[in-house]
């Protein structure tokens, strides 16, 4: 790791002012992305501004059924928080299925939104990479791209967005609250994540020094029976090959309303709008689910090693929909081991994590 200087700040205004004034500086939250990337010289900050003392850790219920999550709340604390588990089980599951318990104790929600891609060439400073070094080319296009994206790609970058909880936020139309040198902003999550296009180095619309202060999830009654399904090479401590966050509202076997977003297969957490429109108003049957999955993946492009992800994504969509609609033919152990069914596990002694995973 190259030399860095260090400042610890106690209030939001100083945090913003300090980073905004120094182009070589960066915020430091849990450090699980920033320290890692500094060490391999992908991040080249000369000064780290430690924001962990800022009062941004609260998880608050909002009137009407929404929730506001402070940017410095830890992944582990958000996953266990009662309002999250009751109202938005998909958020809790997406968090608990990510990283490891140690990393979740360190990593903040704001940092999670801002995490960088896991593309091996991005992490290897000698490899051409448009995201790390604009206009040098993309090594993954014809390289080892098994983990790469099939939706939202461009000829300039095909890296998968790695966040799990970002997928749940995308399904739930979350809003990112920021504060920066230019003032406060509310950014819809879909506008917060950018597809690479011809500027893969730009991943979000934030200015240098603009701080994520909170994420707000609007009231979504159907999300109380939502789930996050993650498919990966090993059962735990691994990024997704394909994942789906889904919430559904059924009436007499017909889908009234549905939210569906996909992870592991796209350059940003991917809202499956085409699938949603096939599903809405249709009978909740495996045939409907299959048509929805096909519609969503119709434009998917494989790059050789990752061709399998197109079919894997379809199957993940169908399976997630079957799980959330309680298909009796599924005996799925997906959420096995996350939290106790009898609620004895988490320190808050509350009920089961979800009504869908068993």
């Amino acid at each position: 790791m190259r030399p860095v200087s260090y400042s610890r700040v106690a209030d939001v205004a100083t945090a913003i002012g300090t980073v905004a004034a120094d182009p070589g500086s960066a915020f430091l939250a849990g450090g699980t992305t920033e320290v890692d990337l500094q060490r391999i010289h992908v991040s080249r900050s000369r000064r780290l501004v430690d924001i962990n003392d800022l009062p941004l850790r609260q998880i608050e219920e909002l009137p009407g059924g929404g929730v506001r999550i402070g940017a410095l709340a830890r992944m582990s604390d958000v996953a266990q928080a009662l309002p999250i588990r009751r109202r938005f089980p998909m958020i809790s599951q997406a968090l608990l299925l990510g990283a490891s318990p140690q990393l979740r104790n360190m990593a903040s929600i704001g940092g999670n939104l801002m995490q960088r891609v896991r593309c091996g060439y991005f992490r290897d400073v000698v490899a051409p990479c448009n995201k790390r070094e604009p206009r040098t080319g993309c090594s993954a296009l014809h390289g080892v791209n098994r983990g790469h994206a099939v939706l939202g790609t461009s000829e300039h970058c095909i890296a998968t967005h790695p966040s799990d909880v970002g997928v749940a936020f995308m399904a739930l139309d979350a809003v990112v609250l920021t504060q920066g040198p230019g003032g406060q902003r509310q950014i819809a999550i879909d506008d917060f994540y950018l597809v690479p296009g011809d500027r893969p180095d730009r991943e979000h619309p934030l200015a240098h020094g603009e701080l994520v202060v909170a994420i707000e999830v609007p009231p979504t009654p159907m999300a109380s029976t939502s789930l996050y399904l993650k498919v990966r090479d090993r059962e735990s401590y691994e990024f997704a090959l394909a994942s789906a966050a889904v919430a559904i509202s059924l009436h007499d076997g017909t889908i009234d309303d549905v939210r569906l977003a996909l992870g592991g297969i796209a350059t940003k957490p991917w809202r499956a709008r085409r699938a949603e429109s096939v599903l809405t108003g249709a009978p909740a049957t495996p045939e409907t689910f299959t048509s929805a999955a096909e519609a969503e993946l119709a434009d998917a492009i494989g790059h050789g090693m990752n061709d399998f992800k197109i079919e894997l994504a379809r199957r993940t969509v169908v399976r997630a929909l079957r799980m959330v609609t309680g298909d009796p033919q599924l005996h799925d152990g997906m959420a096995e081991g996350l939290l106790s069914e009898d609620g004895s596990g988490p320190a808050d002694g509350s009920g089961p994590a979800d009504g869908s995973g068993s």
Binding site: V4, Y6, A13, I16, G17, L48, M106, G182, S236
Partner: protein
């Protein structure tokens, strides 16, 4: 659906933060209940500070990138990875390492259970496994083996001593439940 980017009033900001480094600065760490001062650069990880400055070599460097758990220690009683933590960020926190777990020569019950259950081969991952396991039981998700597997997945064992590690954890869990039935998780 909301799709908006909204701007509001500008905030008063200034760069008034104290800058330390990049050269060595005095960093004051409280480790296993003892306060220690050391002269280190801000870029030094907690893992390197513990191992190279304080001679606490229990925590191991496996991957140095968050992928193995060999460096697991506690910061303010929570299990974290020392390799991705900068030492300077821990100044107002309490750090606990495997060296701080035993009571003098009396092993912590989890250390004893690892010996009894033969829960290691080469032993490289063991300090991290034990620090993780003790914190994990305190977190209270150890109802069954599926939970032990899931909540201990952050500690990789290259020798695959997993069945014996799970046996050690079950032993400590069950002994604690017998001794203190009310606190059983």
């Amino acid at each position: 659906m909301k799709s908006y980017v909204e701007a509001a009033s500008a905030v008063q900001t200034a760069d008034t933060a104290v800058v330390r480094g990049p050269n060595s600065v005095v960093v004051r760490l409280s480790v296993n209940g003892t306060v220690r001062n050391m002269l280190i650069e801000p870029r030094v990880s907690l893992l390197d500070a513990l191992r190279d400055r304080l001679d606490l070599t229990g925590a191991k460097k496996g991957c140095n990138q968050g992928a193995c758990g060999a460096c697991t220690v506690w910061v303010d009683k929570r299990r974290v990875l020392a390799c991705l933590t900068l030492a300077i960020t821990c100044e107002t926190r309490e750090v606990t390492t495997i060296e701080g777990l035993s009571d003098g020569v009396d092993l912590h019950p989890m250390q004893q259970a690892f010996v009894t259950q033969d829960a290691f081969q080469c032993g490289y991952c063991t300090p991290g496994q034990i620090m993780s396991a003790v914190a994990f039981l305190a977190e209270g998700h150890a109802a069954d083996d599926a939970q032990i597997r899931e909540w201990m997945s952050g500690n990789i064992c290259r020798c695959a001593a997993y069945p014996n590690i799970r046996a050690a954890i079950r032993q400590v869990r069950d002994d604690a439940a017998t001794e203190n039935p009310d606190a059983a998780g």
